[in-house]
């Protein structure tokens, strides 16, 4: 973990409520896809944890949805500097991907799939991606995934674009060696049930600190209690206990 001050280089809308923000600063502690950063905002006490969409040598990009006070405040920002903690969370383990990994992102669970897809493609893997949304107007980043060279399938719940239904509708026909997923918990549960191989799940939980000190975001696993922020957010299929 590192604390740094990041300059806002870009903050542009992708849909009515989803934004892409690029932050310039020391990104040396961002070592894996699936990690998150924790942003301090004026007038709000707790930091806001947001997953990493992409990174390069001197910047990190996040794609976030304006849903509450914090993210709404972020949406309004044009320029300035943000106090950010980086290098948080375990991130995805790429070593088990096999030759044909399947990446499944739903809604705001789509962004962490981007850096992951980029890394897996760089390793020479044949990457398939399923991106799930409610409706056509909410779709973002489809072209970006295609530009990486991934085989992209979009699903919409109302059928206004791509395959009609949930991400699981598109999973049936896929041939894959392993999977990675991130999205709302009901979706993760459905993916768990529909999946034919082992895989990794990224979870979300309300956090206090984001770096393992407060035990605010703990969950039970088959291998004992884990902190989503520090021991997660990525858990393996074999250790998950569905409680809710």
């Amino acid at each position: 973990m590192k604390q740094g001050f990041f300059q806002i280089a870009e903050n542009v809308p992708l849909t009515d409520s989803v934004m892409r923000m690029r932050l310039l600063g020391d990104v040396s502690d961002i070592t894996a896809s699936g990690q998150f950063i924790n942003i301090k905002l004026d007038g709000l006490y707790l930091r806001r944890p947001i997953s990493v969409y992409d990174r390069d040598e001197n910047s990190v990009t996040i794609v976030y949805k304006a849903v509450g006070k914090g993210t709404e405040q972020m949406r309004q920002m044009k320029e300035g500097t943000l106090d950010v903690l980086t290098g948080l969370g375990n991130g995805y383990d790429l070593s088990e991907a096999g030759e044909r990994p399947l990446l499944i992102g739903g809604g705001v669970g789509v962004p962490p799939m981007y850096l992951l897809a980029k890394q897996l493609i760089a390793m020479g893997k044949k990457v398939s991606v399923i991106l799930g949304f409610n409706t056509k107007s909410e779709i973002f980043c489809e072209e970006e995934f295609k530009a990486l060279g991934a085989d992209v399938t979009v699903t919409t719940v109302d059928g206004s674009y791509g395959v009609k239904g949930f991400v699981t509708s598109a999973m049936e026909g896929k041939d894959y060696t392993y999977f990675y997923t991130c999205g709302p918990e009901p979706m993760l549960k459905a993916v768990y049930g529909a999946s034919k191989t082992s895989g990794q799940f990224s979870f979300e939980e309300r956090m206090g600190c984001g770096f393992g000190a407060c035990m605010g975001c703990s969950c039970k696993t088959l291998y004992g209690n884990k902190r989503i922020c520090k021991d997660g957010p990525v858990l393996r299929k074999e250790e998950i206990i569905w409680e809710k």
Partner: protein, 303 residues
Amino acid sequence: MGEMKVTLCGIELDNPVIPASGTFGYGYEFAELYDINLLGTFSFKGTTRDPRFGNPTPRIAECYAGMINAVGLQNPGVEKVIAEELPKMRKCFHKKVMANVSGFSVEDYAYTCEKLDSCEEVGWLEVNVSCPNVHGGGMSFGTSPEAAEEVVRAVKKVTTKPVIVKLSPNVTDIVAIAKACEDAGADGISLINTMLGMRIDLRTKRPVIANKMGGFSGPAIFPVAVRMVYQVSHAVKIPVVGMGGVSTAEDVIEMMLAGATAVEVGAANLIDPFACKTIIEELPSVMEKYKINTLSEIIGGCQ
């Protein structure tokens, strides 16, 4: 440079800054960021007799100038704390540490304290009679002078280490409880624990926190903490450790003027992991600004 040393129940601290229990784990997450030996000491995650997962999630809520937590004393239980956590802690922290203890019966407190009494690295036992998160347990001890007294007597029987009783602010007369603890043999008082609070999500019309209520902490509660530290320190002869919303070096000095011998820093660690380091580094210049040469001389300086 001014003198920052203070003595807490017979043990000298290089400075009065102490990360509060539940906001600093067992220290090692923070030791990755800075040398935690610069702290006066720290109070490690509350320990109970048996392992506890704590409350269901969500356990955290945002508030104006603060937060609510309902973690519910998650910890691996005293045996594992001693066997696994303390050896890891010892690798990064070489001073005496404060062991925070909670319980659900007088016997629980005595059992856990007796186990921790055998740990050489433990300097003080901070007995939490005030955690507001646990149904039917912790709360009741801290809200009645008789119950608090009973816990203190039981704990004092099993340890020779200084016993500091951590009090809840969610009471009508904090002075009466503090005096009862002093009469029962407590070596110090620490206060305040979190204040019972609640938030409701307008979209779902349900409590934000699964446990419905939780402990409110952060800068918003600082004035309440200063007031209670002032009241208690004027009523008892034993030292008082002040806490509640402390976030800056100025806050530390204000707490000491109110009567605190040492000062715990809680929620601030979660927002800024360097909070205690920054406070300690800024103390000398703030002391100079207010013409304080020796920090220990200002304890209770506000009459």
